[in-house]
Symmetry: C2
Subunit: 206 residues, 2 copies
């Protein structure tokens, strides 16, 4: 296909091109598995489940946020992985190393859109990355909470395969309370329960 041949306005062509290119996020695999274990969760599925998580929790835990902005940030926050790939949270150095690459990928990807909209979504992406507003901080907390919920609901095999200890998980998940304090007790309850059931190993990080 070639978007250039479509008899629609140039700005619409650019939006359609952005949407087709973005669909490749379905091909980026994450650490989490599907409930049935058949394959890795894709970053597109993770992004969808984040929007659902925000919808389910915002009314009770974050009534002050603007849901449309939160959901927009969650829908676009992983798009850079189309170019840069997903780096698990447990690869802490690799996550630092990839930051510059992700920023360039964001400029290229949102640059496919007409200028005002591309700049607006790039700004929303930076807002999320920098956790610079309440909307972004709630979104960042949700982005940390959702994988924890799935690990807790599963059999702990992701944690076991990475050698994740309860200390490391507590440290990494403390970001949830830092980003959005009302969600902190949920994270603590999930980690404590997973630890009690033996899904998270004792001891400090390896």
């Amino acid at each position: 296909m070639t978007v250039e041949s479509l008899p629609v306005p140039e700005e619409t062509r650019r939006r359609l091109d952005f949407l087709v290119a973005s669909h490749a996020l379905t091909g980026v695999g994450r650490l989490n598995r599907l409930v049935d274990g058949s394959r890795a969760e894709s970053s597109a599925e993770h992004s969808w489940h984040l929007t659902l998580t925000a919808i389910a929790l915002a009314g009770e835990y974050a009534p002050e946020v603007t849901l449309g902005r939160v959901l927009t940030m969650l829908a676009i926050h992983d798009l850079v992985e189309v170019e840069a790939g997903d780096v698990p949270i447990y690869d802490e150095q690799a996550r630092i190393d990839i930051e510059a690459e992700e920023r360039l990928a964001a400029e290229r990807l949102f640059g496919r859109l007409p200028a005002p909209q591309g700049a607006e979504l790039l700004a929303a992406w930076h807002e999320f990355e920098d956790a610079s507003t309440p909307d972004a901080r709630f979104a960042r907390a949700v982005d940390r909470l959702q994988p924890l919920l799935l690990h807790w609901a599963g059999d702990g095999s992701v944690w076991a395969a990475r050698g994740v200890t309860v200390e490391q998980e507590r440290r990494l998940m403390s970001a949830i309370e830092q980003f959005w304090p009302p969600l902190g007790p949920i994270a603590t309850a999930l980690i404590d329960d997973a630890h009690r059931r033996g899904l998270l190993a004792d001891g400090p990080m390896p």
Copy 2:
């Protein structure tokens, strides 16, 4: 895992239970394939790409809608498939047959949530199904446009495998213009271009 053991408020337990159960939407496959052809797009991925499509098009084509409500409807609209499965749009009789089952599934699924929120999301699901507001009509149009965009961007194999003709596609996609007239010309341009390139066969529906 058992959500009952978590030391969080009962309403939070119900929200977490809803979120874990909903994640099964990642296991529901659709007709569309991923860009690399490796597997079927899941309904969770479709839902994510719909939110992205709404974000990309709302500013230009639907500035009057409330984005948070549109994105909420798109994120939840296919959740009933966790119980009822996905029925392709080309199976027109089966789609009518499944409606009652989907309505029951929606009541059960949203009934997992605390009462006020469950009722609110069930109402949003009905609003989408009934296309009873401008927000819902824009969302419905986006739900039709996104698969058309992917078919157009792909190699036409989904259309070919189903024996879909240009007449049938025009008839089914006329809903886009009916739901949201400004998006009609995009649908027409995609279908005409796919027809011109031989991705859609000539002739009336089989």
